[in-house]
Symmetry: C2
Subunit: 401 residues, 2 copies
Amino acid sequence: MAFGRSTTTHGTTLLANTILTLDMKRRQFITAMGLGALALATPFSLSSAERLTDKWLSQPSSGKMRLSFTPYELQLRHAFNLAKSSRTTTPDVLVRIEYEGFTGYGEASMPPYLGESIDSVCRFLSKVDLSQFSDPFRLEDILAYIDSIDKDNRAAKASIDIALHDLLGKIMGQPWYKIWGLNPERTPLTSFTIGIDTEEVVRQKVEEAHPYKVLKVKMGLDNDRATIETIRSMTDRPICVDVNQGWDSKEHALEMIHWLKEHGCLFVEQPMPKEMIDETAWLRERSPLPIIADEAFQRLPDITRFKGVYDGINIKLMKSTGMHEAYKMITLARALDMKVMIGCMTETSCAVTAAAQLSPLVDWADLDGNLLISNDCFDGLKIVEGKVTLPDAPGIGVTPL
Amino acid sequence: MAFGRSTTTHGTTLLANTILTLDMKRRQFITAMGLGALALATPFSLSSAERLTDKWLSQPSSGKMRLSFTPYELQLRHAFNLAKSSRTTTPDVLVRIEYEGFTGYGEASMPPYLGESIDSVCRFLSKVDLSQFSDPFRLEDILAYIDSIDKDNRAAKASIDIALHDLLGKIMGQPWYKIWGLNPERTPLTSFTIGIDTEEVVRQKVEEAHPYKVLKVKMGLDNDRATIETIRSMTDRPICVDVNQGWDSKEHALEMIHWLKEHGCLFVEQPMPKEMIDETAWLRERSPLPIIADEAFQRLPDITRFKGVYDGINIKLMKSTGMHEAYKMITLARALDMKVMIGCMTETSCAVTAAAQLSPLVDWADLDGNLLISNDCFDGLKIVEGKVTLPDAPGIGVTPL
């Protein structure tokens, strides 16, 4: 409890000058500030954000939930090359919910292929009216309402879910892994991601990955075998392979998977395009390694149709709309005898640590998103000897830097 | 938090003179007290329980979990007639876990057809060694250990699970419906049970059921139609039908269900013997009312095979081994598009209120077990205008009387 309150006090220093605050009287606010066109062509500028903050920090919070948010562009340490794209930044929005002296933090990370942007997230968040809920513990009702505001917008929805979990955990004085009854010693090793790149960059990244016991390799271009061979010339650590839908021949995929097994790989994530369901089922039946779904699904109802197609799922909060649905997805996947992996986007320690709260329940973790950026603004999970190590702090366990 | 502590303080008065305490040093204790033969032929007498309590209440709790239990025979208000048995009492064991000034209560209720007894539960509980766990928040580990002690013994396992939930909720200062994010206003109506009996007793019970908006009728004998006709001559309130495996002809079952639908029934629970899977699937395909499983299943892994056989499930804590697994079962059933009902045994307000914490998630509740006994020793949920009404108190929300 004490920690929750002190986080709140210090926390306000982080975003105080850059945050957009939407209070209970949201509609009047939007009208008054001429924000009817929150459909901005460009992200909010810092100065306009400052003006809004000055305005709204003076509002009495009236003992209810107060939602604030700010755009935050993530700077990538390395250009990020996937089978189908490359980039050096990731758009991101930080979210804050204040309630009776407690502050919960959340985050929406928007890698472009998910179809969300700073604009779309800010537009979504500006529609959120929490004044109808007097109690943040009405989590199921609040999340059902958030889900009903608009379809998709999963990252925007996740940012609210994460901030609410942070808030509720702080009110209860416990981190979520404890609230869920989990043993923090059961967290898995996390993999460190090596993108698709030149041999030189791959070598550099393998050096950088030194503290990690598992490597994750992005595949799906012509140099797939070369990448693995480069890594194997340097280390025999186990490798997780993420193809990001990059193979469109099932025979080629099967041949590659046999070769990958011989080279110490653990599983293959999304080997084929998500639409190729029959081909993936064909592949799974013959594959010597587990086939894990990633792009093929987003949310809870998607999982029941995976029987016989995938061996497991890679859950990410920005797909699942947050922690509450992710927890249910793990329960369902386990009941269906599926493997579970928890992953993330490039994002700050805020969303990565939120995901890590679930990690004692999963087989594999890929929680290195915060390590791939140079401007992390939260302190949270640590990776100790390659293993996810959860902070003891209540809520999602992060402290703004 | 304050409430949790005050409950603890008052709570110790209830069972202080009748409780068996098993401390951390359980093995030494059992040896010292000559309890190697806890396989008692008859239930513990009050006087021996008193002697043990005197002995063990003086033990320092050393900041860890301290488990106590006491047999408690439930007195039924009416003899309870089912398709296959009749009785006037139900054996029961009350459980207590103390930890750092907090006390969690739990209960095992043992209707004879479940195969547990006061002896078997006390024997099971005497094997429980919580000294290996320094933190009650390791719920998944503790419950996995409890589950591993012996097979079956589901009521005994549930009693520990309930006591741990009560304890943890009190430490967090919140009732479980809040920890699960549920809206207490979404609790369902609960049904009041009318057993199989003479017309006179049925009439008397319908009078008694006056405050309830839904009736539950036990069936499976020759007078099935007569019972419904008697009730319909008095009231048009909706009726849930529980056959307790009483029909063994699928054609007769289908004919009855059509007749029941015409007489304002909502669903039919366990119409046929649990072994008659194909026949039940045949019936479900043709039935105008939902077919709900009860005796056909106990725990989480049983549910996935119900697709096409049952439309829904009746979860009871004494079958599911408690609240933690019951919550997961609801998640799974919902993902499989099944109806969910929460029921209970004849038991005190302790276990009934624990089950009620889950009730905002279900379609129908049958939580009248505490109303069927004359010696309830807890205050907890209330039925207000037929609706389950949850107490605001932390944990499972009960106060010892």
